[in-house]
Every structure is written in structure tokens, then in C-alpha cells.
């Protein structure tokens, strides 16, 4: 039963990419520049591995419960 409630909270991790990417004022900036990429671009690129890891966490935890 505890495993089930942990799962419920874990699923909220999956809401993070939505919040981080759909609220454009959060990242619609030129600076700081990283390796020549304005913030606008590398911030969004960075969400790709972050999202993968978040889904992976929820997936693995879901299997073990």
C-alpha cells in the first residue's frame, strides 16, 4: 500500500517537463550563452535528457512495486 502512494507522488515528476517548457517567459532569453547557444536553445535541449531520466525513474520504481 505504501508502494502505491509513492507511485502516485512519482507520477508528478512527469508534470515537470510540461511546466518547464510550456511557460515560455521562463526561458525566452538570449543570455547566458553556452557553447555559442543562446539560453533559449540549450535550456530546451537540456530538457531532453532530464525528461528521459524522469521517465526512467518513474518506470523503474513502477516495476519494483
Amino acid at each position: 500500500m505504501t508502494g502505491f502512494s509513492v507511485m502516485k507522488y512519482l507520477n508528478f515528476l512527469l508534470a515537470l517537463p510540461f511546466l518547464g517548457l510550456l511557460w515560455t517567459p521562463l526561458y525566452n532569453r538570449h543570455d547566458p550563452v553556452l557553447w555559442g547557444f543562446p539560453f533559449f536553445y540549450w535550456y530546451q535541449f537540456a530538457w531532453v535528457p532530464v525528461t528521459s531520466v524522469l521517465i526512467w525513474i518513474v518506470w523503474k520504481k513502477g516495476q519494483s512495486t
Binding site: L14, P17, N28, H30, G36, P38, Q44, V48, S52
Partner: protein, 484 residues
Amino acid sequence: MNTINPWALGVFVFFFAATIVVGSSIQWIRGLFHAKRDTNSHEEWSLGGREFGPWVTWFLVGGDFYTAYTVIAVPALVYAAGAYGFFALPYTIIVYPFIFLVMPKLWKLARAGGHATAADIVKARFNSRALEVVIALTGLVAVMPYIALQLIGIRTVVQALGLPGDLPLIIAFISLAAYTWLGGLHAPALTAFIKDIMIYIAVLVAVTVIPLHTGGYSALFATAAHADTVLKTGQGLPYATLALSSALAAFLYPHTLTGILASRSADTIKQNAVFLPAYTIVLGLIAMLGFMAHAAGINTTNTSMVVPLLFQSVFPAWFAGFCLAAIAVGALVPAAVMAIGAANLVTNNLLPAQANPVRASRITAFIVKIGALICVLFLNAQFAIDFQLLGGVFILQTFPALILGLLRVRFSAAAMLTGWAVGTVFGVGMCWMDGLKPIHPINLGLFSGNISTGLLSLVINIAMVALVSVMAPAKQDIPAKTTA
């Protein structure tokens, strides 16, 4: 038009033709090894026997999700509109949490009930033939502009090779028709490997070599003078809403759902949600080609030509030929899956009980491609990407029935039908009035701006579903799985 380079054309023809031949003969080759199995059965042709593991699913889902949309349409929009064209990046990120949460549930329902299409699932859930027909028809119509986008992709590269007049479109159409007719779903599943390897080679070389020509990525953003590097005022809202509506629509299409339902298990889907974002990095880098084209001095009004022209100006002829073949194969494979997905709707839901379902599917797939051809010829969209967004407006109207239908709350078929009808009429009406633009201006006093037409019509749709449900609640005594 530019003159034909024999090296570019030769390499292109070799790779493009090889893909079609390999894909088309796969059914025949499988027949040699699996003598017991009926390789001509309908489940084989349409769902690959529902046996695809993690790897094949990764290539198949990735293969029909990353299409001419990625390699032609997105860079074209970035070239013309700058940062705004990047909405494809958040779209192809947030789609994966959505897949992870929703699609395993849908897969289990489909497996338990033996469903092959969205309309099958909806019919079982709501026990309504009318709703089934409506969902199937929507899938059929929505996929046509999406295939049209793929035809434009193939046409564009053949044009770039220097072939004149209507010949590029004719070649695009015939190659697609032959490939689908002969291969069934096994053709794209196998050739998706070839497609992805070719695309990866082309893109990785492009994103490393081209910036070297133009002075690195920092110079790229410095020289991209008329392509703005961040969103302009008022672009934030359409950027976010287009990303969201595209993500919600992405896996409602008959072809993307086919890829999901053809997987072996619900866990295969979850695993793929973890690893499919690898494609998104590639998509983002391809989008950068739109900026690189400015830096390389490409100047064209036909924005779809941006990437082919860029490849031809920077690469030696033989490698440009290879890259163009990669784009063409990258359009061909998903277009075939789209046509097959649409064909399944007709044989399963619109005209069931066929004496020869494989033949019926083949013929339907062909008719769907004719519909796509008509879209190319008669719909005058400003950007190729608008075709995909137009399909999205249609397909999003199936979201309530398919996805909200998974919830424990019970909605009636009447509520879903009303929502669909009102949403579709509004969505299509707005698109028509806005001149096929995918965003619609709204003004609610404090809140005004451009919003994705698809998302707007989906909101109207859901509001209608809620309204009808409150006025005439669904009967609670119907068990969850009535006709499984």
C-alpha cells in the same frame, strides 16, 4: 532550375531504390523462412503480428514520428520565422511523459479486446457504432494532410536534384504507392533501420561540418540577423500552445497508434518513452539547419527547399545525393505507415467483413494517398508544416473519446459525439477563415493572443462533452467492458 549532377542523382537513385526494393520484397523473404505462417494474413500486413520488441518499436515509432516534418518542414519554419519554429522541440519532449502515462493503458485495452485501431477501442468503450464511424473517418481525413507533407518532402528533394516540372511529384507518389502496396507494415519496420542510419549519418555530418564552414555555432547565431534568436513579443503563447496541441495529437493518429499497438507489451512502450527522446536531440539539431542556411547564404522563397539547397551548397555532389536520399527515405517510411494505419480503419471499422481484407487495405491505402496528393495540389498552405498542424486540428477531436474514455468517469456516447461535431466544425471553420494558418487570435479582455487552433477546438470539444454529460448523465449500469 539547377542542372542535374550525375553523381548526386546516381547516389540518390541507388539508396532510394534499394530501400524500396528491400522493403517491398520483405513479405516474400519472410515467406521463405516462416513457411508455416500465413504471411499474407491481415494481422501480419497491418500489425506485424503484434510481436515487435523494444528495438523494433523504437525504430518503428521513431521512424514514423520523425518524418519529412523533421527534416524539411521544421528547418523551413526556423529559416523563415527564427526561434518560433523551435516549438517542435518542446513538443517532442513533452509528448513522452504523455505516452508513458497513457499509452500502456491503451495498449492493454487493445490487447484484451483484440483491437487494432482507435475506433475499435472507442466502440468497445462506448458501445456506439456512430462514434466508431466518426472516429475512423476523422483518422482517415487527418492523416491525408500529414501524408501530403511527406509527398512534399520527397518532391522537394527530387526537385533539388534538378528534375523538372511535375516529374518530382509523380516520382514521389509512385514510389510511395509501390512501396506500401507490396510491403505492408513489415516494409517500414525493416526499412526504418535503413532510414534512421541514413538520417543519422546525414544529420551528424551536417551539424558538425556546416558550422565549420560558417564559423561555429556562436557565429551562427550572430550572423542569423533576420532570423531572431529568441521569441518575439506575442510569440510565446502560440509557441507553447502549438507545442502542447502537437504533443496531444501526436499519438492519436492511426499510424502512430499502429506503432504503439504493434509492440509486444505495455512495458515495451514505457521503455520506449525513456529512449525515444534521443530522436528529439536530432530533431533540435536538424532545426538548427534553418539558421545554418542563413549563415551559408541560402536565399530562397520556397522554404521547403532550404535543407536540400543547404546540403547541395556545402557538400560534394555524391554526399549531397546521399543526404537527399536520406530525406526521401525519411518521408517514404512514415508515409507508408500512415497509409497502412488509415487503411486499417477502413477494413476494421468502416467496411468490416471483407472477403479479402489485405486487398481491401491495399486499395484503401492507395485511396488515402490519392487524398494526400489532392491536398498537395489544392491546399495552398504557406508552410509545409501547416499541413501537419491542419491534420492535428482534425485528430485532436478524437482525444476526448479515446483518452478521456480511459478515465473512471463515465461519459455517454452522445456527449462524445456532440463534442466531436462542435469541435470539428469550429476547428475547420477557424482554419478556413484564417487562411489555413494553424493559430487563431482570441481576445477575452485581459487575456488576448494567438492560440493553436487545434487546442482551441479541443477545449470547445471538451466543454461540450462536459455540458452534455451534466445535462444527460451516462447510465451507470453499463459495465466498463461491454463488448470486448
